[in-house]
Assembly symmetry: C2
Homo-oligomer: 137 residues x 2
DNA sequence: ACGGATTTGACAATCGTTTTCAATAAGTCC
DNA sequence: GGACTTATTGAAAACGATTGTCAAATCCGT
């Protein structure tokens, strides 16, 4: 396997916009869409073009620095996670906060199911949605 | 099973287009996007407007008669499943064929993870994507 | 600071999906 | 069957998220 798409493939130059976007994602502590992030940046006085936000999120995603999920409406949402390891999420449907959960159990389930039906496993999704303790009061 | 347990019993008139769409989905035996279905219908000589395909898939989905997933690109794909019971899927990313897989394992994992972090579980997703034996040749 | 490659950002373009609305066709009543 | 009411259809326009374009701005090694 070549490693052309590995994490090493990433931005070459550091710009204020890129830093601002990363910071905003970190500060968010949850999943955010490109537009939400753009709004938050604008709100705090940063002027970053929407196109730039999209491009950088894309770059961060393919560099494996952020996780991407799709809302049920098909919108892409991004999150800066604490680990680069493969993991899943427990997401609060009220406030968007989320917990990273590792899961050997899911990995082996996915592989087992695929193999059992003659599929070559490529990927899998597994996220739990619920209401966190803070929001359920 | 009768059809008295449909959801919101709205006006329902049977049309050729609706029947054609349902049939095409059944014949597909896997996940299809609205456009793919539209193409397949056109290919077999049926003339059904793309708008109508979208509308009917939407209606079927909210009636719980078909399952909806999102591809990693955010496109909605629909499948007529054999069971109304809760289940997950093993989907071929090449041809869309899929297998319905029930999984106590996933259910208990979801509940356990939620509880462990003080969340009230609401829902969860868990699908495996891969390449089926037919497509991997 | 210079100069060339990278990145930005306003705008246009694209793609999937929804809305609009006039025309069509189902179901009903006679 | 024929008239009538109204859900449904479909072509085109509208829409929202995302990507492509390209000149101008910016970064960085020299």
């Amino acid at each position: 396997m070549s490693d052309m798409n590995r994490k090493s493939t990433g931005p070459h130059r550091s710009t204020k916009q890129r830093a601002a976007i990363k910071d905003a994602l970190v500060a968010a502590r949850g999943f955010r869409s490109a537009q939400e992030l753009h709004d938050e940046l604008k709100a705090e006085g940063q002027r970053v073009g929407l196109t730039t936000v999209y491009r950088n999120l894309q770059a961060l995603a393919s560099a494996g620095e952020v996780d991407v999920l799709r809302t049920s409406e098909g919108e892409a949402i991004y999150r800066r996670c604490g680990t680069g390891e493969h993991h899943h999420h427990l997401v609060c449907t009220e406030c968007g906060n989320s917990v990273e959960v590792g899961s050997e159990e899911i990995e082996s389930w996915a592989k087992r199911v695929a193999k059992h039906h003659g599929f070559t496993p490529v990927d899998h999704t597994a996220e739990v949605f619920g209401i966190c303790s803070g929001c359920s009061k």
